[in-house]
Amino acid sequence: MDNPDSGDARFDSGSFRDPASRVRWRGDQVERVLTAQGLSDWTALSESGLLEAEHKRLIPTESDIDDALLRHERIPIWTYPYEWSFGMLKAAALLQLELIESALDRGLTLKDATPYNIQFRGVEPVFVDIGSFRRYEQGEPWLAYGQFCRLFLYPLMVQAHAGIPFRPLLRGSLDGIDPEIAQAMLRGNRLKSGVLLDVVMQARAQRKTAGRDVRRELSEAGFRPEMIKANLARLHRIVSGLEWAPAESTWSGYSECAHVGTQREPKADFVRRTAAKKQRVTTWDLGANDGYFSRLVAPHSDWVLAADADELVIDRLFQSLWESETKNVLPIVFDLSDPSPGLGWRGRERKQLDGRGRPDLVLLLAVVHHLVVSGNLPLTEVIDWLRSLSSEVVFEWVPPTDPMARQLALNKRAGEIHVDYDETTLRQAFDDRFDVAAESALDGRILFHLVPR
């Protein structure tokens, strides 16, 4: 954990690339430590008027100039682009482009252009790397254009044009997609907007111009910020036009299934009662599907993480939350049986989900049979993992005799599912780890409110 409760400050393991500004934790407080260069960049930013003009899209920040420190508002739930749906990465890309334009208008630019500088508060993207702003130097190009392509544009393009999901690609490389690889994936799409210039030409330029001081060349040839703006406007048009909208996926029709309809109301009652017992800071709804239960608990939790492995389901939830009044639900694409690992330098630059903050309440509704039957996880193992989160849990027990569990087991032979998948084992596993605060039987299934011991 990088946010220990102790008063000692500790650098965040994901913040080391920019020598001018590093993030550290002091208890729950997020601080940014500035060098002389970083302080000069901050002065330029704070005098530019950008903080006021873009205050809704920038992380709220206070400065302590004497100590060369910035203090940022804490982001409630930290997520990464390889957990976002298409619509989320697109929203982040547009925010990034608009911020650079806004910065140029005030004589500033941004050092980098990476989705890791953007976080979501609910469905609202917020730019968090205040250290990325610095003065624009006359004649310089947009240095982060290539990075923008690798981490925003190509991922969106390959998913929109070629149907290749970007998440495994971004999880596979924190630097994003190389132009040559994007070119290979976009073969047959050269006529689509931007592919020829941003992908094919960039791949060619990368091969042919290595080792030149092109910044000096460009500056001497008369490069001007208007040229960056023309490029930004062009990229904004391209990104706005990218769409990914498959008609259906494995789980996209889930809420219309007959068993879901009949079980929802009594289940909702139990969940609502448990959630309403007290106001919580963070609730995780794991296996959230269309977000029905996330919305249900939203009034009783400051923030709700709605996680589901199906991207289409999450993308639709993102769009529907965008248009709704519920502003504290954050949807992510997340597979419990294959969770985001620690990545980057020492495996700590990007953290596992539970290393970024713990929930106060977890909903695990109609999920256990997927983990045990489809994922072949031993039941005790699942309960043990739940306990490791140290939070209260609303757990729905789906017995092996349940029609849905049977359906998942259709193509499994006897002996191919762990023998511990039964209610006796479940209750034994609870005994050592949780107190059962409430339980309610429901058509063969059982709802539990678990409190960690």
Partner: protein
């Protein structure tokens, strides 16, 4: 001083002149970027001796 802690990639920088509209094109053809359009694809820029 231009400060960059990310490697901006030489090619992507040159390309920006082309992407910067008509005025940008004029800038582009004043740089070594114009060689991107030369036919002998296999000659790397570094190997050429005549500089503008």
């Amino acid at each position: 001083m231009i400060f960059a802690y990310i490697d901006p990639g030489t090619g992507s920088l040159l390309l920006q002149a082309i992407l910067g509209g008509i005025a940008g094109l004029a800038v582009f053809f004043k740089t070594t970027g114009r060689r991107l359009f030369r036919r002998n694809k296999n000659t790397p820029v570094e190997a050429e001796t005549t500089d503008a």
